[in-house]
Symmetry: D2
Subunit: 410 residues, 4 copies
């Protein structure tokens, strides 16, 4: 009567020893389980680091995170009857933390190990642990805020075909090749370290997947994947193109909450949990819907604040040094983030607390204007109702003792 | 008893012969009128082209628009008591079309004269005229849609100080200088053509403003200006930094509605109209609020659709040619726009109709993920309730006769 | 180009001397104007008392109001083509105050002249004048609150047929006849005093309407009328049964805002203003929609507060004296109103201010449970965001000087 | 780390043999468990009939329900430190069905056994079983509808003091005494049948509670109880007066969803489930908040439809026989219910399906006008988005095969 649970995770065992997990996109990874069209199933997922991050008051674990041991996705699942050319409609009926682990974390990676959107400004590792109380979360590391989770999977996607996989490796490889002197990592190319094709894969297949399998870091237009879309929450329907027989659906990287942009990269409230889904197949849907990238319908039960309670900040394509960029929306968004931090530090938060908060609270990040040359304008709306004190813009702020997030010792 | 109307426009007279208008940002443009703190005033505004666009079925006017004769803003207004360092809080109490001109337009500029966000794909001029029926609008050029306006000013800003103006000219000049071979116009530098310092300016001042005055095209972090933020609607409060005595507030470019991004550049439903405002001064607000760029609180009465009724499209930093860009949010947003067009053309719209619609209907454009290298992910949510037929993603679309937008003859 | 204005009112002339007004429901009142299906028209309306109430600081006018000189409705309008059996769909495209009269009032009638829902508790006359600032209103008589108007017509209805009119007179007459000793007025039967069949009616018709015409006080199931539904605001569509050729639509009693129940009877923010409508006819709609009473679709732009910001009070069918009533929802609603007043008087408001506020602010009044014998339970949700100070339930209230509403001198 | 579960129910054992349950309001019922202020606890609850209703296709169980064996509430709980005069603030952090029983039911009692709001029209027993899929529910007995649950406890309350209990018995007894010939049960007075004071109560106490204990059917102003408020969902905070040391909080009667009014009496989607709460004490809160009846703040995550998607029906104080009542809101609400049924039966539903649907879907029931003598006007808004086919009022309905709810055989 209860939905069939097709993946159960074990929080006390390495991810790579557990069944029904994997961490690469590849068409040959064996099916973990089969799902009937119309069947409701429940799927447990590890947190995205496979349990590397602890509920404590130090960010050592964040600083030293092993970024090759991540994204152990649940799946891939066979949706019976799905064929290339179809569209798979996945209804997300519910997402929940694991009952015996009612907490999650948000992290800022050190600039030299992972980094994030503001790493030029905030190079240190930091962490906030969040406790869940039903639909709400709060953190001893960022006191004074409490909000309902817009709970969702960061990653949901279908397997690429061989052709699509080859195209990914071509274009991402080209980006790396064209930027040999970049100070950033430009893209994560196939990498055998901790590559995991699932416990059903034999040695040969494992080696193939390790050498060819696409990394799970970026979302991609052809299959979705790590899109980190905060509104893909309870009740949503995701429309995914099918590229291989059975679709090979994978899910993971559950988030209790996230802000638009997930700016600190480990930026959502990351958690282990479960997701309940039901699948439907639209035969020939790719052509019938003219679909090149996934689309979705959000669910009807999002947290719900008055528009007039979103304090909204603006940013433009002029960077921190005063340099004018041409319609650069990424620059504009970074500026908008900095404006939020400058505003809220007046109340006594340190900048890393705010960088964390921007990453994981349900802030609304909009592209406001993208044609008024040379400035893109983006906005970030912060719901004032998530604060337990008055943060409205009335004048000088009264400074409060707001503690600190966790830092690494060294 | 009714609010004092401090600017009345004349739709039958050239903008540059009318009082209380101007079209440059410059600290020396004379005050048009004075406003007391706490006083409610009504201000009429021309449409952004100063009346160049007609209510007809040709896009000749759009094709041949004179883009030096635009943005005749109402103002600048003295807010009594405002001094540099203060923050001016402008409450937008209402925005309305002019009673005897209940229509507006949305346009796509020709690639060679103005262009827009998708001009590589859609180089022709096109136009849609919208009729207003109270809070709703509809267009004979885009049948099958009807929506309530999220009515707002595209431009609201304070005058720059001499120092800020110099900085604008420096940084935008540098962008142009650094890109001598660009095929796009990189920035609009000061240009004497049709520069208008207001009818109170003497010849000498007019010449100074013409040679130094900043163009009104871009929004800028220091004073707001042409931010084209769709949610700055009835009931909003804008917080603007004050850089000159009396603030010199200017307003114009009224929009009946706009989509996030205003992607066709002439992309909102542009209209002549009136705006009713009330001002408050936060003394020393720039420092007290740590303000570097404007911020705002939206009003409480936005149009209101269920989250589950926003059909939401995704786009990534992989361009039309399959080239991978590094966290380019502008590329991602362009891809998202294209996905919307591909979806809705299935119902019988032509692409220019959809480009227009995306620009002016209340679509929600979000920065979803901006850290998953190398792909930014942006989303566009299209409210399905604005369509008069069922546009939900159920399979092959039934093609309807949906007419056409207006094009230029030649 | 602008919509045709088919009624213009004159605020300086008695209502009964003006064209296109009337104040009874009767099938024979002559048409004021004709409207085409699909035509947008603008209609001005007097306030419901025909101008008896002044913008001053005394409630003498409320105390001495002449309740036979009310509800001078605009109309009746012929909708061309409407026939008995059809349904008339009226789209309310906009409602606005008159430009030169940006204020309205809310009143509490004296118990001996009009009364209201709480007149046993609050027998005195009182008044609050509200000033309009665009979409917002505030009152010098109830400081500390400010809210956006959910602007709407209190009265919209079609004319009854002769048979329906006879039935109204029968059943309302029977109620009066069966309660000869009631201390309340049970119903307002036809009454010749100030009956007004419009200036086009000749003497004989005027006499007929005076003797038979139904009073406009109650809303009625057959034609709508004075339903005082706060959500019938901009963008709504009302579906009205047609009982006479041409429908004979009448409109009036415009409200800037109202709370569910309109509990003080003169309880909305009453105003003179204009309404813009467009009509559509559903042929044979009464039968096709199985319609016995009007129905409507609200508009999409209501003021919009978070559900979590509605402080919600409960009331039950146990009256002030401790007497238990059987599933009496009216008693429960009265109790709920009293609970609101008791709560908010802690901040320094007097009870009459709160009675006025409950009547005119956008409070949500729900039937929560109507089957748990013997208690009905009703709730009233008060949006905390309409207050300029913190009214959340945290403990003892800090008393503020909140002035007073206007009272009568004597 | 997970919240402490303080009540676990056993679905295979009679309620009266299980610990921590009871079914009367009485100050002497022994504490089931103790809860610290600030502690998060999870409490399981039986469905309101203690398991009498089955997941099958017959309404025999509804017809023959034993209404003395109901409302086995979980509790009463001691909130440490709560004293008479305080206010207990209960935050409802989550409500969930039991994992292994993902279904509930809605019922219409037979007129001769329980009845309901429309029993004069619909005297037969009927039932609909609802299956839960994450946040959604649907029923094989009412096809074509599917909606997210606004999940909540029907009953939450504190124990009465001896004085309050005596007052309840006095006033409800008086109602019964004054109406000796009523055809309805006027009130449920103390009744020893299946009275259950909890397994900790000794024989003497059990007898006292059986003879004096207040029935749980009605909500009451002094302690809340069976208020059946649909919006008291996840994230709500209820403010309850404390009348006895430790507060003696009881909870039960969980609902997956309910419509305003819960009109069929067994009208919500009734279920067994769990509720997670956290308590806070406002010392001296009754006096400080001037509280006579409970109040609450709804949670921020309700299902969320556009106002323009609520098809809204009106009803007045004129009954089915054409008799005019004086401001009877109960009559008006009954009429409104009937209007909804008449409208939707056009699509092929039978009346009992619609009666069930009105009871359990998230319909909005408002008191629109309560002063326009002699008619109260109430409205019911039905969210059109819960239907899987188009139910908008465009003309004649196309009849669909919509099956049937379950009826009793005989
Ligand atoms: Zn992710
Ligand atoms: Zn993640
Ligand atoms: Zn603009
Ligand atoms: Zn514009
Ligand atoms: Zn009225
Ligand atoms: Zn009125
Ligand atoms: Zn109940
Ligand atoms: Zn129940």
């Amino acid at each position: 009567m209860a939905p069939r649970t097709i993946v159960k995770v074990d929080l006390n065992k390495p991810a790579w020893e557990q069944p029904n997990l994997h961490n690469r996109w590849h068409p040959d990874i064996p099916f973990a389980e089969s799902i009937d069209e119309g069947e409701t199933v429940k799927i447990e997922c590890l947190d995205w680091t496979g349990g590397q991050i602890k509920n404590d008051d130090s960010a050592e674990d964040i600083k030293n995170v092993d970024l090759t041991r991540i994204h152990y996705l649940s799946g891939p699942f066979e949706i019976k009857g799905a064929e290339p050319g179809d569209v798979l409609v996945v209804e997300i009926q519910d997402v929940q933390p694991l009952e015996n682990q009612p907490w999650g974390y948000s992290g800022i990676f050190a600039k030299e190990n992972g980094g994030g959107f503001l790493d030029e400004h905030y190079p240190k590792a930091a962490k906030a642990v969040f406790d869940f109380e039903g639909i709400f979360c709060s953190s001893r590391h960022i006191p004074g805020v409490r909000f309902p989770g817009l709970i969702h999977p960061g990653i949901i996607g279908t397997a690429p075909s061989k052709e699509i996989l080859a195209e990914w490796n071509r274009r991402e490889g080209a980006l790396v090749a064209e930027n040999p002197h970049s100070t950033h990592v430009m893209a994560q190319l196939p990498n055998a370290s901790y590559a995991f094709a699932g416990i059903l894969a034999d040695e040969k297949l494992s080696a193939t997947v390790a050498s060819e399998g696409a990394r799970t870091i970026p979302g991609r237009p052809e299959n979705g994947g790590n899109c980190d879309i905060k509104n893909l929450s309870r009740g949503s329907k995701v429309f995914l193109p099918v590229h291989v027989p059975g679709a090979k659906l994978s899910i993971g990287d559950l988030h209790f909450s996230q802000g638009d942009g997930e700016i600190s990269f480990c930026g959502a409230i990351e958690m282990a949990g479960s997701i309940t889904i039901k699948c439907k197949i639209l035969k020939n849907g790719i052509s019938d819907l003219a679909m090149k990238s996934p689309m979705y319908l959000p669910g009807p039960v999002e947290p719900h604040f008055s528009p007039s309670r979103y304090l909204t900040f603006e940013g433009f394509s002029v960077d921190e040094s005063g340099k004018q960029h041409y319609l650069c929306t990424t620059t504009a968004y970074r500026q908008t983030c900095l404006r939020v931090i400058e505003y809220f530090r007046r109340f006594g938060y340190n900048d890393y607390q705010l960088y964390l908060l921007l990453s994981c609270a349900p802030i609304q990040g909009h592209v406001a204007g993208i044609v008024d040359i040379p400035n893109s304008c983006t906005t970030i709306g912060v719901p004032m109702d998530i604060f337990e004190f008055d943060v409205s813009p009335n004048g000088k702020a009264k400074i409060i003792d707001l503690g600190s997030c966790a830092f690494a010792n060294s």
